[in-house]
Symmetry: C2
Subunit: 615 residues, 2 copies
Amino acid sequence: ALNREAFRQAVVNTLERRLFYIPSFKIYRGVAGLYDYGPPGCAIKSNVLSFWRQHFVLEENMLEVDCPCVTPEVVLKASGHVDKFTDLMVKDEKTGTCYRADHLLKDYCKDKLEKDPKLSPENAAELKRVLAVLDDLSSEELGAKLKGYGITAPDTKNQLSDPYPFNLMFQTSIGPSGLSPGYMRPETAQGIFVNFKDLYYYNGNKLPFAAAQIGQAFRNEISPRQGLLRVREFTLAEIEHFVDPDDKSHPKFSEVATLEFLMFPREDQVSGKSARRIAIGEAVAQGIVNNETLGYFIGRVYLFLTQLGIDKERLRFRQHLANEMAHYAADCWDAEIECSYGWIECVGIADRSAYDLKAHTDKSGVPLVAAEKFSEPREVEKLVIIPIKKELGLAFKSNQKMITEALEAMGEKEAMDLKATLESKGEAEFKVCTLDQVVTIKKNMVSISKEKKKEHQRVFTPSVIEPSFGIGRIIYCLFEHSFYTRASKDGDEQLNVFSFPPLVAPIKCTVFPLVQNQQYEEVARKISKSLTAFGISAKVDITGTSIGKRYARTDELGVPFAITVDSASSVTVRERDSKQQIRVNVDEVATVIKEVSEGISTWADVLWKYPTHSS
Amino acid sequence: ALNREAFRQAVVNTLERRLFYIPSFKIYRGVAGLYDYGPPGCAIKSNVLSFWRQHFVLEENMLEVDCPCVTPEVVLKASGHVDKFTDLMVKDEKTGTCYRADHLLKDYCKDKLEKDPKLSPENAAELKRVLAVLDDLSSEELGAKLKGYGITAPDTKNQLSDPYPFNLMFQTSIGPSGLSPGYMRPETAQGIFVNFKDLYYYNGNKLPFAAAQIGQAFRNEISPRQGLLRVREFTLAEIEHFVDPDDKSHPKFSEVATLEFLMFPREDQVSGKSARRIAIGEAVAQGIVNNETLGYFIGRVYLFLTQLGIDKERLRFRQHLANEMAHYAADCWDAEIECSYGWIECVGIADRSAYDLKAHTDKSGVPLVAAEKFSEPREVEKLVIIPIKKELGLAFKSNQKMITEALEAMGEKEAMDLKATLESKGEAEFKVCTLDQVVTIKKNMVSISKEKKKEHQRVFTPSVIEPSFGIGRIIYCLFEHSFYTRASKDGDEQLNVFSFPPLVAPIKCTVFPLVQNQQYEEVARKISKSLTAFGISAKVDITGTSIGKRYARTDELGVPFAITVDSASSVTVRERDSKQQIRVNVDEVATVIKEVSEGISTWADVLWKYPTHSS
């Protein structure tokens, strides 16, 4: 744990010093949970998002949309966020300071377990059990635990209030009247769901298809912790893949089926095993992963993350336990990345079934459904219930409407039973829930039959498979996975390096004139200009500092290639991690850098092609 | 005006039908002033932003940052937004419906002028004058006009309240306590200003440099009008170029100096002239544009907009009139684009002097300044005022502090006058504003002298030159400038075309198998796959519709190139606007499309290189 902290401190110091990120509004002492990306961080973010677009939107022909952050209440009422997007909070009864109730209980348990030498084995076991079920505790249970352990406000030792839910959405008001409440969206997904009808039409009324959105999301955390991992505003990249619930196969599944990586199925977690390597094809075949489409996205997410530079050994796909999963979800896997804070959920990949589209259908009255046209009409047997309104009216007067509705709402079995009773006995007892009353239905009051009908299509609510990416979390984990230190040439200093792959590196290349001299500077500017024209970000460093120091500076920004101009005709190109150097003609060098930056060639390719240079 | 409306309706119908944009939350009847970009709109936006990054950030080596939208009150208090970012509003006194006061007055005047045949020439002149000064009217003047003309609520004819200011920021609360007010940022600029110190350091403590930011901004408009032009949430791309106020030259100015385009200087507006072509080099030389840096950005903005496809003839740079400009601004030009709504401000290019950095210096106490190191120390004469506290204390007791401060605060002239009086008369009258009192200062109470000092640097607040781009407005104008109709082949239909340049086109290429046949479909998919691998967005259309209909569909999305697969070895490539066709080998075609899409070759180049094809 100490090593982890020291490592994290080293990474974070470098990140802050080189302006990868900046606590927002720092000159005003900042705001917890808000961070800026400074120039190199911003470039990395932009590269990660470009790659995301290429890897998902372009390669899968997804429909990308861009919806506002300001969202009217009705939408988030339908999605359940207004009622349920809460954390339990307690207040210091004297000062009013707010705390997350589960944080206080967690801290108490961990602290006891780590620091109390007199703790009995029974008490230790009890505290461990509490930690394990922390996320499942109700408001009452959490309150009872806090009281039971005598937990008080950490800063003042004052009494705490009972826990109560605090909604995590930033609230605002739309328009000048003050009468239209709105929220800053807590996820981008809802903007896609409400557009389902139009997007389905845009796709030629065909399933499956996926829509995607990149954008800001907001969560007004009670007390943000864990630096860049738990923030109040963040960039999400979300995919909603709409699919026929009866057919979740995926045409491109075979392209990922042989990929093998760490998976952590529910059963293994419950039985105390560790994550293990499974081929995703196997996981689907064995029913560990619910369906091909879910499996396909797990495979694609694996490729996405590892191509960014996430370490395969510190990446696992963990299945949600039964208690973590929403009741409607068919299956759910998190891509978790290990960093100094532990295993962090960075991508959630969930089969949410028809939940979201149904919720918005109900609330808006607009049917968000798909239709499968049959190539030829199919004959189906349909239950037909016809209440005879006249007879019902005579018998039940003002209750007629309720009884009619109850009759029409019968399921197949109930209706056929009623029919049988009416035919054998002439009348039957019938329970009307909305009246809380049992009435006697006579044979002449309702006609029940089964009819054969021809149907031309099947209308259904599509299932949604949702891969949702926390871009900031992925980037932070990438920072940790890319960071290492190595001794300086004279051995008296440890130098920081970020080993970003060229794909994500904020600057692809720095250009140094070896000495301060006009001719070399002109060559440097010419090379830089060619790189810019290619769309390759480059930086010229004409300070007179020693080449060693300039390399150290550029390594710390994760720049993969450095060009030293030491003649007017040819230059030295150095690769960051191997420190190998080659000699390339001035006229060729921009093309070489473009090719290795864009992945058209590898460093190994060019190393073979050009003479090496020893400094 | 009628033609304009009809044209707009045709454009907007196409945009909505093809999902370039969608009124947000449509299934819940939408929210005024909020729009989604659907798939083609979203792709165009993403292309425009990529080009902006290439054209500004990369080519000018700008420091791009990414700050949160949620902003604490103190920041926007310092910037003036909390106090002054308002519009004047009136309320229907019975229903409470809100209106923008200037809108009602404007509508009244326009309506009278257009529709009242009995309007006297004097009254007409008066109404025109009101329209001209509309933006300058105070709350009281606006109220008086509304009353004077008997203007009532448009929907109900009820009485209206007096105008009062409504703050246009969406307000929210940061954290759970409810005690930290925050706002959704109305612009991205403030995030850059508060980071000035860090960014200056990142740039090696050197001026000039520019920071840039792309992101969402929010304005809670009272009653949004003009469709996509006045919305409540929008994407801004802003540049803050920090420069020494004593040297606003620009090293690359010569690269734009000969560009000639429509400019509309302040004097020409006042004297009723029209915009005229001026070379930007001339405009700076003649002092029409305040300085080279401002002129450089005007030139770069011109290149940016015209390369996107904005019509040169419907683009002008209009200088702000004295009454439009903030008191601190040195000069300000808007890039205005003409569309069916008239001339629309799409980019503002302002020299804001030191205002923003000074405001945050004052509020935060953190000096946001730059320093120019002298190559050798310079000798300067400095005024030195030393109040003799002992004597002042004896004479003035508790007032000593105020008097000391007032003495220290004297300017050079005042101090030298006081010194002369003290030397000639031994004492002098001295006004202390903070005490509202005149006191008698004796010679022994203060020492005033001029000393020669060596200074090693000059410390100053940089000036800010701010080009600020309303991305949504630019895109909307681009839609209008790109839209045209042409007759279908059989002449019985008008077909819609968007003539987007390949740079911004949402999809670069569609691939059609000529007939539904497996071999052709496989070729189509193979070509599409190669294009995707190149990062070129392509779409395969395997519907059996006629080629003519498929061309019409793709023209309406502004797709510049279409490949028809009519053999297994070579294909037809058609250019959208000329409808010219060439024949290219299957193996070559992806490369050809990549080159014309990325601007490496033009259509004219490939037309010359490949055999033409007549259909």
